[in-house]
Structures are given as C-alpha cells and as structure tokens.
Subunit: 151 residues, 2 copies
C-alpha cells in the first residue's frame, strides 16, 4: 500500500534527523502557511528571510517551498529566532518571532552528563513542547509594511 508522508515526515526526512530546531521551523512554517494564505497572483513567489542559521531553514524549504537554490530563502544572521515572510508583489511582511522564554528553556543545559538514551528522551520532550505549546507561548506574529527582495 502506498501511504503519502505527512508534512512532518516530509520535513524530517529531508532534514535527515529529528531535533528541536527542525520542530521550531516546522511550527513556524505551518503557521506562516496559514497566515499568508494562498498566493495573491499566480506568479507571486513566497520569499522568506531568516535571522538565524539553524535547522529550522529546512522546514521552510519543504513546507513553504522557499528553497535556497531559487534564492527564495535568505539568511541574514542576527542570531535571533525571527522569520520574515513576504509574497513578492505585495507590500506587507509577516514577522514571526519565536518566544525568547521558550528559546531559553530549550537552550538551558541539563545538569550533568546524559546517556544517549537520556539525550534522546530530552530531545523528544523538547520537540513535544515545541509542537504542542499554546501559540501565544510559542511565538508572536506581526504584520508590517515592507518588501523582501530576492537574492
């Protein structure tokens, strides 16, 4: 039987592993997809600028179809978990900022060394937290006037 992969499976297959970073990207990408809606014109391309160089980028390449090769995904590294979405041809940007309290919680190191099994469990706990926490605890959304330029 042929079962189509879920979007989450497509993302983690492409990324090559499952980690908190790709879970953040997945949740941001799905939120952006919902918020941005369908493309305003047939030739309007979705452009994304990420303010951090992280695993999250791979989710945007799959879910939002903004690839690095097509220059639709741009990186301007300020080390902030901030992502900008823009339909070329419009004058509006969607800014998604992942909650800094959540990022701190993810970054906090566990006291003492962890066994591979403990590490894996901690990883899974973090992914579950990222994917299930309430939206207002996950990120803030803002719409601002502006454009992104491909390149």
């Amino acid at each position: 039987m042929c079962v189509e992969k879920t979007p989450w499976e497509q993302v983690t297959d492409f990324h090559g592993h499952t980690c908190p970073g790709i879970a953040i990207g997945y949740r941001v990408a799905v939120l952006a997809q919902k918020e941005m809606g369908i493309r305003p014109t047939s030739d309007s391309e979705l452009l994304i600028k990420a303010e951090s160089r992280s695993c999250a980028l791979d989710a945007f390449q799959i879910i939002n179809k903004a690839t690095i090769g097509r220059k639709a995904l741009m990186i301007e590294d300020t080390h902030q978990p901030i992502y900008w979405f823009h339909f070329a041809g419009t004058q509006e940007l969607l800014k998604i900022s992942v909650n800094s309290a959540l990022m701190k919680r993810l970054d906090s190191s566990h006291p003492g060394p962890l066994s591979p099994r403990e590490k894996q469990n901690r990883n899974l706990e973090m992914i579950q937290l990222i994917l299930t926490t309430d939206e207002e605890d996950f990120c803030s959304l803002e719409r601002v006037p502006g454009v992104l330029t491909k390149g």
Copy 2:
C-alpha cells in the same frame, strides 16, 4: 497506482521549476554520488561546498542529502561553477568543476528577443545539452587532500 518519483522529478519538484541551473546541479550531484560511493563510516556525513550561489544547490540538497539547515551545504561564492565534496572523517576532497566552455555556451544570449515559447524551447535544449553531453565535455573531476568543516 503509486509510482515513485525519479530522482530528476524529486529534484525539479523540490526546486519548483526546470532550468539549466538545476540540470547542472543534478548532473554534478549524481556524478558526485557515484564518485564518493557509500559513506566510509555510519556517522560520516557528506559535506558540500559550492563556489556559486545558483539553482544547482537544490540538487545537492535532494540527491546528496546535504541540506542548508543541517549546515552540510556551504556556499563560498567565487562565481565559479566549482563544487567540493567531502566525507567528514576522511582526508580527501572531490572537486567537480563544470567546463567553462559549456558555461559560456549556456550564458551566451540569443540574438533578438524570444517569445515565451521560444524561450521555453531554448531552455529545454540547454537542459538536454547539460544532461547528455559527454562527461569530459561536462566537467573535470579531481581528488585532492583536504577537509571541509561544517558551518
């Protein structure tokens, strides 16, 4: 019936369109895959450095599974069609340089303006040339001592 996509279909689906740039990437990626062989150890990751920021990058993300999010694909833009492949943990690099005569032929602009149909036909001719030209006319391969560092 469920028919699995060919590698070329997987690449062009991911990239979002078919163009000479993605055809170059596809051919380089497949060549590299053949030349690099299976990974020397189970945890040895394939790292790639591209010397140009082009459509080709998307082929490496699909065929060689070196994604930008995982930092396995790096870009150091010298505007040259040169691609470096390295298995982490080894001391050897594979360098693939696309033939400059071929690149010139692709870059040469057509005299006079083209209709959308003529443009599409020219695109398809170029893709066919890239995918079918003899390997020695497509690129040169070189193995040199060295490493790539992720990041």
